[in-house]
Amino acid sequence: MRGLAVFISDIRNCKSKEAEIKRINKELANIRSKFKGDKALDGYSKKKYVCKLLFIFLLGHDIDFGHMEAVNLLSSNKYTEKQIGYLFISVLVNSNSDLISLINNAIKNDLSSRNPTFMNLALHCIANVGSREMAEAFAAEVPRILVAGDTMDSVKQSAALCLLRLNTTSPDLVPMGEWTARVVHLLNDQHLGVVTAATSLITTLAQKSPEDFKTSVSLAVARLSRIVSSASTDLQDYTYYFVAAPWLSVKLLRLLQCYPPPEDGAIRGRLTECLETILNKAQEPPKSKKVQHSNAKNAVLFEAISLIIHHDSEPTLLVRACNQLGQFLQHRETNLRYLALESMCTLASSEFSHEAVKTHIETVINALKSERDVSVRQRAVDLLYAMCDRSNAKQIVAEMLSYLETADYSIREEIVLKVAILAEKYAVDYTWYVDTILNLIRFAGDYVSDEVWYRVIQIVINRDEVQGYAAKTVFEALQAPACHENLVKVGGYILGEFGNLIAGDSRSSPLIQFDLLHSKFHLCSVPTRALLLSAYIKFINLFPEVKGTIQEVLRSDSQLRNADVELQQRAVEYLRLSCIASTDILATVLEEMPPFPERESSILAKLKKKKGPGNLHPDLDENRKERSVNGGTVAASPTPSTDLLGLGSTIATQNSAPPVSKGTSLLVDVFSENIIPDMRCLPLAPFPSRFVCKNNGVLYENQLLQIGLKSEFRQNLGRMYVFFGNKTSTQFMNFAASVFILCIPADPTVDGGAQLQQILNIECVSDFVDAPVLNIQFRYGGTLQNIAVKLPITLNKFFQPTEMTSQDFFQRWKQLGAPQQEVQKIFKAKNSMDTEVTKAKIMGFGAALLDGVDPNPSNFVGAGVIHTKTTQVGCLLRLEPNTQAQMYRLTLRTSRDTVSQRLCDLLSEQF
């Protein structure tokens, strides 16, 4: 195509971005006029122009026309034109285009054409676009093509993957049926390409409903066994660099990882034999020097090892797997070292092989020191973390600490968290723990998040035996000429509480302690200075002899007239307190902090958030061994009046909050199970129940504050705008709003009559019952106001309506007939039974209202899909009003019992 070549050359010769854009715009105008022109274009020209558009799109320019032409190409009976039409659509048309119905029409024709090439093009298009409309149109047709006896192999392959795609995008639309049994038998197909595609499909389906596909295990084992024992020439084209069907083997081994070890002894024996053969082959000399040969061989080997680890039942295989991985740890191929470290991480959580993994500690430490590639070093850190236990904790922590000094910036924070967790979990004596954390601050102070230093303080406060040592150590550490601000914070807090324990030594007399702290004061940020001021007032209580000196400092203009309100207020209040209060009162007010309540470590929660639960092996082994060896303690004494250091309240709101800059919105993972609701002690205002069916309105109002909401939801994501209106004429100070324990930094002041806006991003991780709580704290006049309201985020917000016909509805209704899937409630009407209002409520609830489905016209039926991050749950509902009795009967059927229950509870409150 000369025109295309000329155009591309032109673009490549452009000297500047502007010239390129100019040339592109010229071409776009040209194509547009050609498409609009009345002269019918021949296929060749159409193809040429579509290729040009594709090229322009690849360069990053929007293409907003040509779609119609592409759709027209689909109905051409020439292969070339059809193909280019499909290509354009799969690259450029997104799933919610309004052209979908036209495209669907063309696809339907091609699917029924019985021309395998055309059928393949159509199936590809469905799989690549994968929209809901397409799923609705073809979810019944594709399985039929897949299992039909006369379908060509290449079409079967495409149909299997197409079905897989539809099943992942719209699982509720792909009904299980008689085809499922026949799909399983595709594992016996002659054509290895078909078997590969079918294995992918079955693996995905088996993850969702393992029972239905149980029979695939024996077939998969048989197939695998035939491949593994075949001579490398048997499979001809599917032998890749002397390895028999490596991709299929990998897929089969993945499929088997959906199930526990086979119960049938014969099958189990056969599988063990296969796995042994694969392990044996690893020891044989390579059949080729090519890297592709060893790659393919090892791909199978690693998958076999994954299966062995997954089964976790054959000690001999586990030991062999561990030894094999041990060999790879020292292999000269970086890829293999990387994968070996990764696999060993999962192996370390197996009871049988934890000890065996530990024997490789020196190699792993060496990898940490000598690997050139940061990806590999990161895996080494993960593995060290996973293999750590009480016996080797000191060594591992020491190695990680020393690595920290040279570690990549991108992984420092994670290493800091890991070190902090290991140090706490395996601390036998707490002096080691305190030393470790102080070293963390010393080596990587910038990466030590607040959680880490909160935690060391919590532990010191809760353990009498370490307090004196901690005071002595921080005192010494503070003597360094330059120390990190986090160290000043820890030092200030600990000396303020326990400075008296070392005051006997003349080298750390009260005055010296005070001078040391105060020498850092002017270098610190406002929050740290505030903390130091609190430490000073605690000093006045601990050491009456320095009272004069400290009062002098508090009285200075730089304190009493500080521009920062918080600092000024503290200085004024503390000075006054020290002047008028008697020793007894001072001693009571400034008493030592009470122990913190014991909870899950906030650091662990943070690491979970950072890495996702999947990568957290010590967590697994926590379930296996005794729970949290040292008794995790955490955070939050939410009684600000006794906590003069101001830490209690900071922890309560900022605990576990990642450092964020003001005004940014964050993805608040509010439903993740790792987060512990922290402020439940406050009186909770429930949200008005109308919010279940509405997204906007006034959430809360008292005489001071009005909270308004605007929210929008799409699939499993939502965004909520929260408006805080100050109804008074006075400014609110220290304004803070937080969801659970995650603080959203708000502007700290809200002027009288003004409004403040915050944005929350919401993700539904799994189905849930409890709504997240919004905590608001601010100072109005002199008093601190605390308000807690539940946010109206309910499960039904993640509904997507689904339209369906009467027939479909009742077919699905029957499929969801298991007793636990249905929840029914009969209740009295609270409001008048108005049909239109009821309709509006059901639609507001999020379901599609289906007309003419129920034979009784006064009944309401609805359908929709609840989207969560991991799954989608199809939901059907039916509401039968009885106007005479003023009663309703509500029935919910979904594929998940908790969802049925929750939705029924929510909706029944509405009428």
């Binding site: 690849l58 292969y79 290509l87 795609r165």
Partner: protein, 162 residues
């Protein structure tokens, strides 16, 4: 599942992008840039796997790549794929391109974007591996070429065009 397949050159110019999950056009361009940034700063001879960029799912996804002369071939995959398997798949892809274009080079990809897409479609469909057997792939591609030629011959007379 394969989330995206990207080919770009040593300067980050995209030569092929195929996404199997829907992103807006802007995001797609950003993902290409981010991926280039992540991959291009790595030394030769380090490992071929790394965690995905933030835009495409962070540590839940892996980038598996190979660097051939002027081009990077990057597959972004989730945890359900075998790393070494995908690495081999890239090799099959490149060997197939090599056979179809006879000593493939960057210019072939630039001037025949449609062909590259068609070859890829024979291997990967909707994010899943469709066919790994190179002979089978080439047979399919040849059959398409034949059909194309016969149609061009019948329906199209050669002429000047722009």
């Amino acid at each position: 599942m394969i989330k995206a397949i990207l080919i770009f050159n040593n300067h980050g110019k995209p030569r092929l992008s195929k996404f199997y999950e829907h992103y807006s056009e802007d995001t797609e361009q950003q993902i290409i840039r981010e991926t280039f940034h992540l991959v291009s700063k790595r030394d030769e001879n380090v490992c071929n796997f790394l965690e995905g960029g933030m835009l495409i799912g962070g540590s839940e996804n892996k980038l598996i790549y190979r660097h051939y002369a002027t081009l990077y071939f990057v597959f972004c995959v989730d945890s359900s794929e075998s790393e070494l398997g995908i690495l081999d798949l890239i090799q099959v892809f490149v060997e197939t391109l090599d056979k179809c274009f006879e000593n493939v080079c960057e210019l072939d990809l630039i001037f025949h974007v449609d062909k590259v897409h068609n070859i890829l479609a024979e291997m990967v469909m909707g994010g899943m591996v469709l066919e790994t057997n190179m002979n089978e792939i080439i047979t399919q591609v040849d059959a398409q070429n034949k059909m194309e030629k016969s149609e061009t011959f019948i329906f199209q007379s050669p002429r000047q065009d722009r």
